[in-house]
């Protein structure tokens, strides 16, 4: 490898790591909401990401709708599906964590096969909103990717404001901290759970909408985001925005390093290794605010 080539690879790793870090932040924040507030592990989280991606594919490529309304429609519809799943399957089992885990895994597998029936296993492509691209230090970056980065940053800022500056955000954090005390203070806990579920699936859908144009849409696409989100939450801890952001970027850069330097096929294996190593050696996460008792 010549110097200029290896320089190019480093620039690639930095740029793509940054873009994926932003997307992973959104994915992990959505996952934390349901994990930290409702205290359940929703294994159908990735299926919501997949569902939104196919919805956008159908709306944009099938019906020919413009991109932005399709995104909003897909995010809204996915949030509704999330709430419906919560009411029908998660709520009745909520006291037994193991059964929630199993039933959400079942839902994820079921939805994946529904996607296979409707769209076959053949990967689909969502047309980009912004064609063209530019070159940053020799690495080609599409406008779509820059748009994704910008939207991701805006979403994170908005979510942070929602959680810290509004009444709803205070209620949500109160429920996360002490459910019984929050209920005694008159906070409608069950409604907060449902809103958290809606917001969580909406974020999974938003991440799906953002990456669909530069990823192929396929039925099994939901599993990596689920495991990535779980890894980030384990690494960054619950309830810390900065911890989540830091962990999201660590995972994203580790994936890009593996993909560019070893093999693209081992990309998510890097995440899996980080997950196992963190659970074994730093069960309280990098910043001490861990989730594993």
């Amino acid at each position: 490898m010549t110097t200029s080539q290896s320089g190019r690879v480093i620039v690639d790793i930095v740029i793509f790591g940054t873009i994926w870090g932003a997307i992973y932040t959104i994915l992990a924040l959505g996952f934390t909401l349901i994990f930290g507030v409702v205290r359940i592990l929703n294994l159908a989280y990735g299926a919501m990401f997949m569902f939104a991606s196919y919805l956008i594919y159908s709306l944009v490529a099938g019906l020919g709708l413009p991109a932005v309304p399709s995104w909003l429609l897909a995010v809204g519809a996915t949030a509704l599906v999330g709430v419906a799943l919560y009411v029908a399957f998660i709520y009745p089992l909520r006291d037994t964590l193991g059964r929630v885990l199993i039933v959400t895994a079942g839902i994820a597998i079921f939805l994946q096969e529904v996607a296979v029936l409707l769209y076959s296993t053949e990967p689909r492509f969502v047309p980009t909103v912004l064609p063209g691209g530019l070159s940053i230090l020799g690495a080609r970056v599409t406008h779509q990717q820059l748009l994704t980065l910008a939207v991701a940053v805006v979403l994170v800022v908005m979510l942070h404001a929602l959680l810290t500056r509004t009444r709803f955000g205070r209620e949500l954090r109160a429920v996360a901290q002490d459910t019984e005390m929050a209920a005694l203070m008159g906070i409608p806990v069950e409604r907060t759970y449902m809103t958290a579920m809606a917001l969580s699936t909406a974020l999974a859908a938003a991440a799906g909408a953002l990456v669909a144009p530069f990823l192929t849409v396929s039925p099994e696409m939901g599993w990596s985001p689920l495991l990535v989100a779980f890894t980030i939450v384990v690494l960054g801890g619950l309830g810390s925005l900065w911890g989540t952001i830091a962990a999201a970027f660590i995972v994203a850069y580790a994936e890009m390093l593996t993909a560019f330097l070893i093999s693209p096929q081992l990309r998510d294996a890097a995440t899996f290794v980080i997950m196992v190593l963190t659970l074994v050696f730093r069960p309280h996460g990098l910043f001490g605010k861990g989730i594993v008792e």
């Binding site: 089992l93 093999s263 997950m275 069960p283």
Partner: protein
């Protein structure tokens, strides 16, 4: 527990052994072989997941490593040594997966076990020089289809006998105690580490032997054996049959394999059936097929109570 369990078990295995007298169609015979193999995988899964109560989402690591051992060593070693290698490979992976899992509980253990087969799947795809990549390795079977059926049935009988013996002994009661409250078990002087690792290794080694037969049966081993659905289908069979009973998961394996094959047109339908049956079970019959009677009783009782005027 009652010795009658062993009598029922022996009668069941004898019945299955007589089946080839009527089932002469090679396709049905191969389905029955597959059902016996899945019964081995799900009952070995049950010792850790049902008895210690730690849901293992990655059982495929164990029978998959047995199957890959067959792919690598089959052409070079006599079958007896291949079986030994399959069991040893699975036991080695049981220690590799078991050690990090010792400190973990609940969903953390489940997701950790889930990613191990996925790591192996990615490695099998990547290092194609050794593993044949997505094409996998072709395996020559030393047994005829009927021989394979009886070998699978014999291994199933051995597996169920060993597991029931262990489950109904002091060790099995200790497993249950760890599952109920591992801190209390530790305080009572139980070496929980040794018992947990033991459950991993015992279940894995038997599953590894099954993996060898699985590779012979498919005449092939490829990365899809480590795929998500392979592991999940074992979990589904165990839950549908009834966790923590050894026999239940084996029944679940037969029930779902035969149901899946009888309705099968496309692989997709099989997976849809599996996942919906499991969702229904988890929602309505948490004790599976074996606990069906009790669950139905509860359900009817609940409906009657709900209807009663207040």
């Amino acid at each position: 527990m009652l010795p009658s369990r062993y009598v029922v078990l022996a009668a069941g295995i004898a019945g299955l052994a007589l089946l080839p007298l009527w089932v002469t169609n090679p396709y049905y015979l191969s389905v029955l072989t597959l059902a016996a193999l899945y019964a081995i995988f799900s009952s070995t899964w049950d010792i850790l997941s049902g008895y210690i109560g730690q849901l293992n989402f990655g059982h495929a690591v164990f029978f998959g490593s047995g199957a890959y051992a067959t792919g690598f060593l089959g052409p070079h070693l006599p079958p007896v040594l291949v079986f030994a290698a399959g069991a040893i490979a699975a036991a080695v992976f049981a220690v590799l997966v078991g050690l990090p899992c010792l400190k973990l509980r609940g969903p953390y253990l489940s997701l950790t076990t889930l990613v191990f087969p996925l790591i192996l799947e990615r490695l099998a795809f990547t290092f194609r020089g050794v593993t044949g990549g997505e094409y996998g390795i072709t395996v020559a079977s030393p047994l005829s289809p009927i021989g394979l059926y009886y070998a699978s049935l014999a291994l199933l009988a051995l597996t169920l006998a060993v597991l029931l013996r262990v489950a109904n002994s002091r060790i099995g009661r200790t497993f249950k105690a760890i599952g109920d409250d591992d801190q209390a078990a530790l305080a009572a002087g139980v070496n929980t580490t040794r018992f947990k690792l033991g459950a991993f290794v015992l279940g894995a080694a038997l599953a590894g032997l099954g993996g060898v037969l699985y590779a012979y049966h498919l005449r092939h081993v490829g990365p899809e054996i480590f795929g998500l659905f392979t592991s999940f289908s074992i979990v589904i069979m165990g839950i549908v049959g009834g966790m923590g009973t050894i026999i239940g998961p084996a029944l679940g394996a037969y029930f779902l394999t035969l149901l899946g094959e009888s309705l099968r047109e496309v692989e997709t339908f099989r997976i849809l059936i599996y996942s919906s049956v499991m969702i229904i079970c988890v929602m309505l019959f948490p004790h599976g097929l074996l606990g069906l009677g009790a669950s139905l009783h509860h359900l009817v009782l609940g409906l009657r109570l709900a209807r009663e005027p207040r």
